[in-house]
């Protein structure tokens, strides 16, 4: 009886406190959105999860948005449909809005106010190549190959191919994709030149030791199986699929190449964002809530997320394969499953904040490999990043969520848009987003100053 009464008292006090003092019961009044019905595109990859969750958990509807999610056949189609207005927004490669804005490929102003995730990619090679590489990799104390595996181990295989007059070919998913830069970074860190782009070589194969080409993510395992390529860099579940189908072996994850690297973003056309500012804000709000859900309670929700993603309308691969990486492990080779708690990060480490320094890193790599074909001053890098990345929209959405009691203030960073300098790369080179040119100078293989490919 007594306990019951005390319980009532506590409830009454807290009700008074919470309702009257700081959080005046903000009637979760949806923003007045300019456009209620939206069509959002995605590619069948596990990191589209925030979109699926925002839809399934009703976060979009809470904001007064009625969203259709539509799988797209490849990144080029997806980008063109966002630019052309067929899609209101899309799950994009971080390099896509940047590349589009500075005119690599299709030129159009595309912006982002929400980073969708960190990490999530891996490099897979065919079984043959792995058999040859394995000889050069020392075993760890547990008898398994020692990680991270560097491209040094691949070098003799590439030389062998060269000696036989064959090209060593690997695939990435798009010319301005994170995978392209990660694979290039990994190869170059091991002394292999992945080739340069120039105005006359848009395939980026000038001076290349390893020929890179483009294949849509879901076709990677099939292309590897057909022998058209010897390896690839792609997001999940397409590395785990290679193991499941027994066509290849994932050897290194992107978090080993650059710890907590920015991966996908939610991109919209700049003109769309100007016309629909509240709608944009509402979408970002819903996506932040989805990201919070995905990383809540130490990943307690991930199992449910896996079930949702395995439905044919989303990623569609078997739940077992998606679950391999979404629930904190990664399978390198048959039976070689290792813990990888940070393989997919959706919210921790301020993953969703659109940092300028992330955009600048992609720009430095575009310069390094010749997609930007001349030297640019440091200020240009920052200006371009500011043109594409919109942290102010993100913070506005965050603020609203905090006011509505749907997020905590500590969930969001106080920052000027630059992450602290880091040297957590596979080759240990330090990156400071404020000094892009100095960073480019430090990278051994790559264009510097005003160099051009082939000169």
């Amino acid at each position: 009886m007594n306990a019951k009464r005390r319980g009532l008292f506590v409830a009454a006090v807290s009700a008074v406190l919470f309702s009257s003092s700081w959080t005046e019961p903000v009637l979760a009044k949806p923003l007045k959105v300019e456009k209620e019905q939206l069509k959002i595109g995605f590619i069948k990859l596990t990191d589209m999860a925030p979109l699926a969750i925002a839809y399934e958990k009703g976060y979009f509807e809470d904001e007064g948005l009625f969203v259709t999610l539509e799988a797209q056949s490849n990144w080029k189609v997806l980008l063109d449909r966002v630019i052309g207005g067929e899609l209101d927004g899309a799950h994009m490669l971080a390099g896509q809005p940047i590349g589009a804005t500075i005119g690599i490929g299709t030129k159009a102003n595309v912006i982002t106010a929400f980073s969708m995730d960190l990490n999530g990619n891996a490099i897979t090679v065919s079984n043959d190549v792995w058999a040859k590489m394995k000889a050069g990799i020392p075993n760890g104390p547990d008898g398994k190959p020692k990680h991270p595996i560097k491209a040094d181990a691949l070098k003799p295989v590439v030389s062998e191919f060269k000696a036989q007059g064959k090209a060593f070919k690997m695939a990435v998913v798009f010319p301005v994709s994170t995978h392209n830069y990660e694979l290039r970074y990994w190869l170059a860190a091991g002394g292999l030149n992945p080739g340069y782009y120039s105005s006359s070589d848009v395939t980026g194969q000038t001076n290349a030791d390893v020929l890179l080409s483009v294949t849509p993510p879901p076709q990677m395992p099939a292309t590897l199986e057909a022998g058209t390529i010897n390896g690839y860099c792609v997001g999940e579940p397409w590395n785990q699929q290679a193991i499941a189908k027994n066509v290849g072996v994932p050897i290194v994850t992107d978090s080993e190449i650059w710890k907590n690297n920015p991966e996908k973003v939610f991109g919209v056309a700049e003109s769309w964002a100007e016309k629909n500012p509240n709608t944009h804000l509402a979408v970002v709000k819903a996506l932040i809530r989805a990201a919070i859900w995905l990383d809540a309670n130490n990943g307690a929700n991930r199992k449910e997320a896996v079930q949702i993603l395995s439905r044919p309308e989303y990623v569609g691969a078997d739940a077992k394969i998606i679950g391999n990486t979404m629930t904190g492990t990664f399978e390198y080779g048959k039976g070689d499953t290792r813990p990888a708690p940070d393989f997919n990060v959706f919210f921790r480490y301020y993953a969703t904040y659109p940092y300028y320094s992330d955009a600048v890193w992609y720009l430095t790599q575009m310069r390094r490999w010749g997609q930007i074909d001349e030297a640019k001053p440091d200020a240009w890098y920052l200006d371009t990043a500011k043109k594409v990345y919109k942290p102010d929209i993100y913070m506005k959405a965050a603020q609203l969520l905090v006011e509505e009691g749907k997020a905590k203030k500590t969930d969001f960073p106080t920052t000027d848009g630059f992450r602290a300098p880091t040297h957590e790369f596979i080759d240990g080179v330090e990156y400071d987003g404020r000094k892009p040119n100095a960073y480019i100078e430090k990278l051994a293989i790559g264009l510097k100053g005003n160099q051009k490919a082939g000169s």
Binding site: K44, V77, P312
Partner: protein, 346 residues
């Protein structure tokens, strides 16, 4: 199947024989039985029912034994049972999506009620449920798209065909284009069509999805040729005497076109249209894969990309669906074609 209801029509057709002898009546009766009934001999039944049925059984047997021996990277090729199971699961998807739509409308009604309670002047929102397209919906989308393309093709092809049939000069002018464009694959047209539609179809409130237009136009471009050629042939082979009569009577071009040219070339126009629809249906699947039109083509492509253990069975089910729909479309056109034959013979 038509073998079931047979005797009534012949009995009704039997002439009133009055007091005449019964055997005579029987003979008459046999003679006046409709033709299809007379054709219903045991051999015919054997050939048109039993043989196909046996062949289908044989195919299923061969399929299920062969399928279990082919190991792909997505597991074994699914047998008939697995494919049938996926048909059930696709139907279940459709049902559950309907449930979700219902729940959505309920939520919307609640929201509207709340909004009205707060502000009586508020306009209730009437948003249509934007769920994912399910298999039956995808079939409808594909049919709508193919008929749009087909209609477009017919509207272009018939006038051109008539022109080519009537005038040798026009024929000489069009012939090179027909010869060159006829063999072009839809996959070659598609990028061009995509870019042109994206550039020209810019409206604030689009009536059609671009992907729908792109697919329909690609279908039209690839399927108009059989109609052009057959129309031209039909018009060119009109009886010379008829044409001479029309010249003697000094018929106006309009009368000549509608009373003479069109009626007598109708059977061949329809033959062309039937071929066109067949080509169009085939082209559509490829066009939808690339243009992202949410029909059967996109279904196949999405399932291929899913790469789950059910994907192959679902794709196979889609293959059968595409085949059966194509067959039905052809039958419909065949019936129309026969009708025109009869009317032309009158």
């Amino acid at each position: 199947m038509p073998a079931v209801a047979k005797t009534e029509p012949s009995a009704a057709a039997a002439p009133p024989t009055g007091n005449a002898a019964a055997p005579v009546a029987a003979v008459v009766n046999a003679r006046t039985r409709p033709k299809w009934l007379r054709d219903l001999t045991p051999t015919a039944v054997w050939r048109s029912v039993a043989v196909p049925a046996l062949a289908i059984c044989g195919f299923l047997l061969l399929w299920s034994t062969a399928a279990s021996r082919i190991e792909t990277s997505l597991g074994k090729i699914p047998g008939p049972a697995a494919v049938w199971a996926q048909a059930g699961s696709l139907w279940q998807d459709f049902e559950s999506e309907r449930e979700r739509a219902k729940a959505f409308y309920e939520r919307q009604a609640q929201r509207n009620a709340a909004r009205l309670a707060e502000d009586p002047a508020a306009t209730p929102s009437t948003v249509k449920y934007a769920g994912r397209p399910t298999f039956p919906v995808q079939i409808l989308t594909s049919l709508k798209t193919v008929f749009t393309g087909f209609l477009l093709a017919t509207l272009i092809a018939v006038p051109i065909g008539i022109l080519c049939g009537l005038s040798r000069t026009a024929n000489a002018a069009f012939s090179p284009f027909i010869q060159i464009f006829k063999p072009v694959s839809p996959l070659a047209w598609l990028p061009l069509v995509t870019m042109i539609v994206s550039a020209l179809y810019v409206t604030a409130t689009p009536m059609f999805e671009k992907s729908y237009l792109i697919s329909a136009i690609t279908v039209a471009l690839c399927s108009l040729w059989p109609t052009v050629i057959n129309t031209a042939l039909g018009v060119a082979s009109i009886d010379k005497d008829l044409m001479n009569v029309s010249r003697v009577l000094k018929l106006g071009w309009r009368t000549k076109l509608f009373k003479l040219v069109l009626p007598s070339s109708l059977p061949l126009i329809f033959t062309g249209m039937r071929l066109s629809l067949g080509v169009g249906w085939m082209v559509l699947i490829a066009a939808e894969m690339l243009a992202q039109n949410p029909g059967l083509g996109k279904f196949v492509w999405d399932e291929f990309q899913n790469g789950s253990s059910d994907s192959l069975a679902r794709i196979m089910f889609a293959v059968f669906t595409i085949g059966i729909i194509g067959f039905l479309l052809d039958r419909v056109m065949l019936v129309l074609q026969r009708l025109t034959h009869f009317s032309a013979q009158r």
